[in-house]
Homo-oligomer: 202 residues x 2
Amino acid sequence: MSQPRTRIQARNQETILQAALDVFSATGFRGATLDQIADVAGLSKPNLLYYFASKEAIYTALLSGLLDTWLDPLRTMRADGDPVQELLGYVRRKLDLARDYPRESRLFANEILQGAPRMRAVIEGDLADLVAEKSIVLTQWMDQGRIARLHPVHLIFSIWALTQHYADFDMQVRAVLREEGRDPYPAAREYLETLFRKLLTP
Amino acid sequence: MSQPRTRIQARNQETILQAALDVFSATGFRGATLDQIADVAGLSKPNLLYYFASKEAIYTALLSGLLDTWLDPLRTMRADGDPVQELLGYVRRKLDLARDYPRESRLFANEILQGAPRMRAVIEGDLADLVAEKSIVLTQWMDQGRIARLHPVHLIFSIWALTQHYADFDMQVRAVLREEGRDPYPAAREYLETLFRKLLTP
DNA sequence: GGCGTTCTTGACGGGATGGTCAAAACAACG
DNA sequence: CGTTGTTTTGACCATCCCGTCAAGAACGCC
């Protein structure tokens, strides 16, 4: 049933995953209930379990389905572009992701916060590989004197931390800014651009 | 029973809160069970409920008890010190907190990630007030040309994001660094010091 | 329209979980 | 010791929640 065969299957699987994203990202795996997901999806609980074998299966289908989207901005960074522009572009794309897909960000945050019980393999594998690969590029740029010399992996961590913060701690960001419903992202974008320009200048 | 009256009460309440910190920080409020907490504390479940009215009461007692510790590093920042040194000191203290009290960090992260259902008031109140107060100091320093002009609140966000990242996403940090059990904090400290020095220089 | 397949659901089982209670164990103090 | 107040616990209850199942509804194809 993993590959949808009929139109109804495609539609309902998508509906279920969207509802599950809503609920899992808001309360974590343990906090979510099948009844809630069924409710949001507008389906009955047994119907959910007709399309997915278990609560766990819905959750892992979500995670693995979203992982590629999540890593794309880093993959897109090109070794043959202008280093500062490439990095600023990565920051910008990552911040756009935080703004446009906050549920996805919180889903991953929740998972990693609890020690990534269901993602450990992919983090230690694909993700670590990708970072290692990009670190080589960053180190080359530093060797060429085109950006400041910094620890490449901590540089990537800082991009993750600063961009995802706006999605994961959105509630706190808005409460502390006290700008009644105003979008915090334009100022964040400007701030992060300044920060990374200054940081990367040799 | 909130103020311990006997030695036994003081000891057991402390034992329970420590065990609860362990369990709540690892799995969130919904994910934690009283049986787990009782097990870690080495007490029976009814005994837990002799000292605290409910699971909820344990959780809120934890949160409010730890909040002061959590905000202290920011409070400690003095308006009459050297601006760059004060800010770097804040970064260092916050990073030390992440290293020495990761459970506390994850507890708060979990709570805010889920929209702070039990902390909204204090975030919109005390925390927002403290940030507003310190923002004034930061703005004065900028007006005097002693640090670069930046959005003061986003500057504080960036300190939170960059330091707490090492506690909250510890699993990912260690997996991506691939340095088998090596302490990531020395390099983090050096990286963050460089980052903020460059950022704050006018 | 008839018929096999796919989809949907009400009712239910079983285990986990927060919380109660009454009685037993223990401590403190005369 | 004996009495009084504190602490501890085994047994239990009610509810929640994941997952099952059998039967019915809808669909697709002839």
